[in-house]
Symmetry: C2
Subunit: 142 residues, 2 copies
DNA sequence: TATTGTTATACTCTATAACTATA
DNA sequence: TATAGTTATAGAGTATAACAATA
């Protein structure tokens, strides 16, 4: 296509993200999951019992937007919201949710391999360090 | 923050893109421009007279979504749509649009410098190659 | 008083389908 | 017949404001 903006890091970063998310969506669509939903399942898998608000802070999702997200996954029987103190609630995976977790991990692993395979071998070790540096510390999405 | 998903390239890529776009938006808000609008202005600056559909193809914007985009910039007096053949039209910057172009270039340059400054010096040369590889079509990368 | 969960709402971006006209 | 521009619309994702309950 010979994109004249291809030398702009911010532009190429955005295009790379969109393209990669599109490929991820193909992997996840078999399980009828959005990337955000999959990331929440992975997160609970690592940090069972964390709060809805905590999950939102980690994933960069606002409190208000966590509601329909968790509600949808709960309606599908993938997670439970356990009242913790009266004003906060723990998120835990159900048995079905745990089975979904292993499927998500498989899909994500395949996707990550696919993603890294695009990068020339000698540059692969730099992918995470560069992206982490670009992500940066000022990422409070609340 | 200690994000347990921070080792996933796709996840970190998305977070990096969102964070970088947020910083870009800060630079562009002074000119009341969205990133997409700025990218179109930059593109026309490089390829004056290209078609609306061509611009959409290059930027990854659907034909239907180019309409309100160009209409808005035209309403602001930044660009003109010149009937070319009867079914296609050239996009060209007006005098005001050209002045905006230089402002956009300044903002983008500042943003790029800011972005690259986040990356450790010895990794900066790898940013564009890695992101381009992640963006692009399937290739044999090794 | 600050935080959590919630509801309602609005705005942006993107996607699709259908229509007109033109090459 | 394929393409360019257009319109209308629907779906995500994200943003804010306000409220009740609770620590």
């Amino acid at each position: 296509m010979d994109d004249p903006l291809g030398f702009l890091p911010g532009y190429v970063l955005r295009r790379a993200s969109i393209a990669t998310m599109g490929r991820l969506h193909q992997h996840l669509s078999a399980h009828d999951l959005r990337a955000t939903e999959a990331s929440l399942i992975l997160l609970i898998g690592e940090r069972a019992g964390l709060t809805q608000s905590e999950a939102g802070r980690i994933l960069g999702i606002k409190r208000a937007n966590m509601v329909p997200l968790t509600a949808k996954l709960e309606a599908r029987g993938l997670l439970e919201r356990l009242q913790l103190t009266g004003r906060s609630q723990e998120l835990v995976l159900t048995a079905i949710g745990k089975r979904m977790l292993t499927k998500v991990r498989t899909a994500i692993t395949a996707h990550e391999n696919e993603t890294m395979a695009r990068v020339p071998k000698d540059l692969r070790a730099h992918v995470i360090p560069i992206l982490t540096a670009l992500w940066g510390p000022d990422t409070d999405a609340n």
